[in-house]
């Protein structure tokens, strides 16, 4: 009996006017656009400089800053008040004020003061901008002191080395997350709309009046989306390799094994929502609600360890968190099955739980 049901699901999906296209277009779009858009690197910070010193050294500093690719010099102001106005108008993210006497002080005392003010509406941009600017100033001071032959005040030099992502390439971090998000959306929304779609079409009642076992019916709904998910994942692997030269440092089969379980979790959740909904709109909104929570509280874009304690507790019951951990561990660190047993156990638990629930919540008889 299962064969007939699966055959029917596949025919319906293939004949669908939208799903086969979605299966190709969605991964391609997401993989080509998102990694560029979802970047946390701060570039092109608008800077406004108030140079009250008008000296050779202050001009050199201005040149150095505008040559940096982090900053874009958008204006020179003649007073602090003017400069503040620039921030208020949104023309500048950060202000640098070089006080008069800057050159003299630097030459005479080997140290000098400038002031930095940044617009912290976007906290990350403001904070990082100020930090970058301090770095440039530090470097500049060293250079100038060397030229002047003044021995600089001793400072601790740090050497940084970054493990697993030596170039601090943000794309390597974000692509596994984007793949996860895509699989979640594709294999969560489609099943969520499926059963409720049959309810609206009236075919659900025709099925309910047959002796079809609940388990077979749910399994037949699950399998096509599972296959769709595996295809989409393969497509993502290919695109990540082709466009970003990104291949997992670990074994690709590890990812497939975890994905196979993860896909059952999200499709199962979709089916549960579909079972409880009576209209497509309802299913859509409820699914969207859970999708938002799952994606935002998963560590996909923001580290779980920075979340408050209560949010961290919520992530414990978020299947997405475990899968994203697996994706990053395998992609970046090259972890194998041995290091990922916690995630494996969690995902199996969710897969079994969600699908038992999906079978139970499918009611052939109403009260």
């Amino acid at each position: 009996m299962l064969v007939f049901l699966i055959e029917k699901e596949f025919k319906q999906i293939i004949r669908h006017s939208f799903i086969p296209k979605l299966l190709i277009v969605f991964p391609v779009m997401v993989m080509l656009v998102f990694p560029w858009a979802a970047t946390m690197e701060i570039k092109n910070i608008s800077i406004n400089i108030t140079d009250l010193d008008h000296s050779t050294l202050s001009k050199k500093l201005v040149q150095k800053i505008s040559a940096s690719n982090y900053f874009r010099l958008t204006g020179l102001s003649s007073s602090h008040a003017d400069a503040i106005e620039e921030i208020e108008f949104g023309n500048a993210d950060i202000l640098l004020e070089i006080k008069s006497g800057f050159e003299k002080q630097l030459i005479r005392e080997g140290a000098t003061n400038v002031s930095i003010s940044s617009n912290a509406v976007n906290g990350a941009k403001g904070g990082l901008g100020a930090a970058y600017l301090s770095g440039i100033l530090q470097e500049y001071t060293m250079e100038q002191l060397a030229i002047l032959g003044i021995k600089p005040v001793p400072v601790i030099k740090t050497t940084e080395s970054y493990l697993f992502n030596p170039m601090l390439n943000y794309k390597i971090f974000i692509i596994p997350a984007i793949i996860t998000m895509l699989l979640t959306m594709l294999c969560g929304f489609l099943p969520a709309l499926n059963i409720v779609g049959e309810k609206e079409a009236g075919t659900m009642e025709q099925i309910n009046v047959t002796p079809v076992p609940k388990f077979s019916f749910i399994l037949a709904k699950l399998i096509p989306y599972w296959i769709i998910g595996v295809i989409a994942l393969s497509l993502c692997f290919a695109l990540a390799n082709l466009f970003y030269g990104l291949t997992p440092s670990g074994s690709i089969s590890t990812i497939y094994i975890f994905a196979a379980i993860f896909l059952l979790v999200v499709s199962g959740l979709g089916l549960i929502i579909s079972n409880y909904s009576s209209t497509l709109q309802q299913a859509m909104f409820v699914m969207f609600f859970f999708m938002m929570i799952m994606i935002l509280i998963s560590g996909l874009f923001t580290p779980v360890s920075s979340m408050p304690k209560w949010a961290q507790l919520i992530t414990m019951i978020n299947p997405l968190k475990y899968f994203i951990q697996v994706m990053r561990a395998v992609y970046l660190k090259g972890s194998g099955m041995g290091e990922l047993t916690v995630q494996m156990v969690a995902l199996i638990f969710f897969a079994v739980g969600a699908n038992i629930w999906a079978v139970i919540s499918y009611r052939k008889t109403t009260h």
């Binding site: 064969v3 669908h16 052939k364």
Partner: protein, 247 residues
């Protein structure tokens, strides 16, 4: 008279304060064509859904094809066919694919499905449409196809809920020919309708008013009992008592 294949005792269904089906009792014998009449909103569909195991009764008791409607709905489903008032085959599947799907679900032996499908389509004069998508068929054909799918697995009883709603008189006639054909094969037919002329085709009819069964018997008996010329007249005499609004 044959033994009863549908037995219903004091069956009631309430939705909140509203009593859709109020304490109905009747029997249908094997091989009968039983007409279940009533105005829109009289409770026919609710009753039929309980008999098919789609809806649990609030109280009362019923047996269909030898199984209890409350405790063994899945066993009932193995032994019946059902056609709802809303067309409910898969629009995006072809004619033969719909037949194959439902035959497969009802456990018709795999190797016989293809030949039986061809035979059936041949008999209906429908062989040329085998590969058409169901959504491209005219309404009358859809109804005939839905009926044929409902009896493809040779059920003991077939439940038809307003099967001829919205089709032309000629197709309605053809549809009733199909119903008789099924009856001669020994399938009990339980059919709801609000076309009173169709009631004359049934072996026995019941008339539902406001969730109750107010009359039951052969068309001839009912006409005598209510001193009427036709079932239509009987129905109108009964319907005058109705207090429930049409829904």
């Amino acid at each position: 008279m044959n033994e009863a294949t549908i037995q219903v005792q004091k069956l009631t269904k309430r939705f909140g304060d509203f009593t859709a089906v109020n304490n109905i009792s009747f029997e249908v014998s094997t091989g009968e064509v039983f007409g279940f009449l009533g105005a829109n909103g009289a409770g026919k569909t609710t009753a039929i859904r309980m008999l098919c195991g789609l809806s649990k009764p609030t109280s009362g008791w019923g047996r269909v094809a030898g199984f209890d409607i409350t405790r063994e709905p899945e066993m009932i489903k193995k032994n019946i066919g059902y056609m709802s008032q809303k067309f409910s085959l898969y629009d995006d599947l072809k004619v033969w694919e719909n037949i194959r799907l439902f035959a497969g679900i009802y456990g018709v032996p795999h190797h016989t499905i293809a030949t039986k499908t061809d035979e059936m389509l041949q008999r209906l004069g429908f062989a040329s449409e085998k590969n058409s998508l169901v959504k491209s068929l005219p309404m009358g054909w859809k109804q005939k196809l839905a009926f044929s799918v409902a009896i493809f697995h040779k059920p003991k009883i077939v439940f038809l809920d307003e099967p001829t709603g919205g089709v032309d008189p000629l197709t309605r006639r053809q549809f009733w020919e199909l119903i008789y054909e099924a009856a001669t094969q020994g399938i009990t037919v339980f059919v709801t309708t609000h076309y009173m002329d169709e009631a004359e085709y049934c072996n026995r009819v019941s008339i539902m008013v406001d969730g109750r069964i107010d009359a039951i018997g052969t068309p001839k008996q009912l006409k005598q009992q209510f001193e009427s010329e036709s079932i239509d007249e009987v129905f109108r005499k009964l319907a005058r008592r109705a207090t429930r609004k049409e829904v």
